[in-house]
């Protein structure tokens, strides 16, 4: 089961990113499901799992974009590691904490990504960071918190129903 879980995560990510991210786009701003899943799992599983999962997801993205091979792997690895560290120091169940962490992580991720992607050209980096990364970070954080609240609500209801059935 433990071995199947990471593969399932990667498949879910592939599905969400490939088919839903484009449908949910507002203009050119879309949620980053890769980052969402990575952050969500890293804060619960820790920096080691986060960095390995980040590398896996990043490499998968890179395989679709051979012109920047390794760039997503690098940024997602760093994201997974530092999110894992942050998760152990905060309150992962708090919606506010998750919102802030997702927003900050998305911005930090794009900061590194865009700087390398644009060959350290600060003008191009700044335009892309402000016009794409900033709204994307907010969108990703909002989607993350909504999913978190839904999952928490569903889990609470399931536990309550099981309790009722037993009593």
């Amino acid at each position: 089961m433990k071995r199947i879980a990471p593969v399932s995560v990667l498949l879910v990510f592939l599905f969400l990113q490939a088919f839903f991210a484009r449908k949910m786009a507002i203009g050119s701003v879309s949620p980053d499901f890769a980052l969402l899943i990575l952050v969500y799992l890293a804060i619960y599983k820790g920096p080691l799992f986060g960095s390995i999962l980040g590398f896996g997801i990043g490499l998968l993205q890179d395989l679709f974009n051979p012109s920047h091979l390794g760039l997503n792997a690098l940024t997602k690895t760093l994201t997974g590691y530092f999110t894992g560290l942050a998760g152990s120091k905060g309150e992962p169940d708090s919606g506010l904490f998750l919102f802030a962490l997702l927003g900050i992580t998305a911005l930090a991720h794009d900061l590194v990504y865009l700087l390398i992607f644009n060959g350290l050209h600060l003008g191009k980096f700044f335009v892309a960071w402000v016009t794409v990364s900033l709204p994307s970070a907010v969108y990703t954080a909002v989607v993350g918190v909504v999913v978190h609240l839904l999952v928490t609500y569903a889990a609470t209801e399931a536990v309550r129903n099981i309790g009722k059935a037993r009593s």
Partner: protein, 286 residues
């Protein structure tokens, strides 16, 4: 052993992080090794059926409206074709008089976009035509609104298109009005910069930029953008020309791969009656 103990017991997290970072940096530095090409082939094979299924349902929803729209377009194009045929006869006669090189038409292979690269800064498309359809690496790809990129990698039933909205895909272009030549490089979104333009060159806002055909890969004359801004560069020697592409790279659904150039009098439908064209295109008479 103490080193092993230190690295893999006490600082396991940091060691793994360092290894993965070094691995990522190595991937960024090496020029696309063969094993990764194989991995990409595998990934493409895995994603191909999933993409096809999604595409089928999307097509199912949109096909009725699209069909109605296409019929209108066919009717309009038939009238246009009739007018162009008259021009052709006249033009052919003038060409022979002037002993111009025989004009070439393009053998276009229509392809559907079945996938995109998975990050938000999109530079690649996956199309549903591959080696089996005579697609080859470096073949140019067009959309209805102009040049969009070229084939980067080919698989049996699919191929990757490297879009021009990428730092790695500069295009040689010409100002359609003043014939000023420059290199078009992607900036952000649908915005581009035309490089190598001198201060004395005549480039104005609203000018259309077309492919130059230099280098022989990209055919000449396809629109790549419209000039949206012209300003003097800081050094006072050149112009900073910005252009915007009319192609929405995020919502491309159909593209055309240029397979070959064929003499224009051998192009499909050239001498066929309208009824045959209608039957082939929409499967019924108008």
């Amino acid at each position: 052993m103490p080193l092993f103990e230190l690295l893999f017991r006490r600082h396991r997290d940091k060691t793994v992080l360092a290894v993965l970072v070094v691995l990522s940096l190595t991937l960024m530095l090496i020029p696309e090794p063969a094993n990764l090409a194989m991995a990409r082939g595998l990934l493409n094979t895995v994603m191909y059926p999933a993409n096809r299924v999604t595409q089928f349902f999307e097509d199912f929803v949109s096909v009725r409206g699209e069909n109605r729209e296409l019929k209108k377009q066919v009717a309009s194009l038939l009238l246009e074709r009739e007018r162009l045929n008259q021009f052709r006869v006249e033009r052919e006669r003038l060409r022979r008089l002037a002993e111009f090189k025989e004009e070439q038409f393009l053998d276009l292979r229509p392809a559907e976009v079945i996938g995109r690269n998975l990050d938000r800064f999109q530079t690649m498309l996956v199309i549903d035509k591959g080696r089996a359809d005579s697609i080859k690496v470096r073949m140019p790809v067009l959309s209805y609104k102009g040049y969009v990129g070229r084939i980067a990698e080919v698989f049996d039933n699919s191929a990757w298109v490297q879009l021009i909205c990428s730092r790695n895909s500069p295009v040689s272009c010409i100002d359609k009005r003043s014939r000023v030549v420059g290199i078009l490089e992607w900036s952000h979104f649908s915005y581009f910069e035309m490089k190598n333009v001198s201060i004395v060159d005549d480039v104005q806002v609203g000018d259309t930029l077309i492919t130059s055909g230099f280098g022989g890969v990209v055919p000449k004359g396809y629109p790549v953008g419209v000039v949206s801004g012209v300003a003097k560069q800081m050094d006072g020697l050149g112009l900073k020309v910005t252009a915007v592409s009319e192609v929405n790279f995020r919502s491309l659904e159909e593209v055309f791969v240029i397979i070959d150039e064929i003499p224009w009098d051998k192009a499909i439908y050239f001498d066929q009656p309208d009824s045959v064209i209608i039957r082939d295109l929409i499967g019924e008479d108008l």
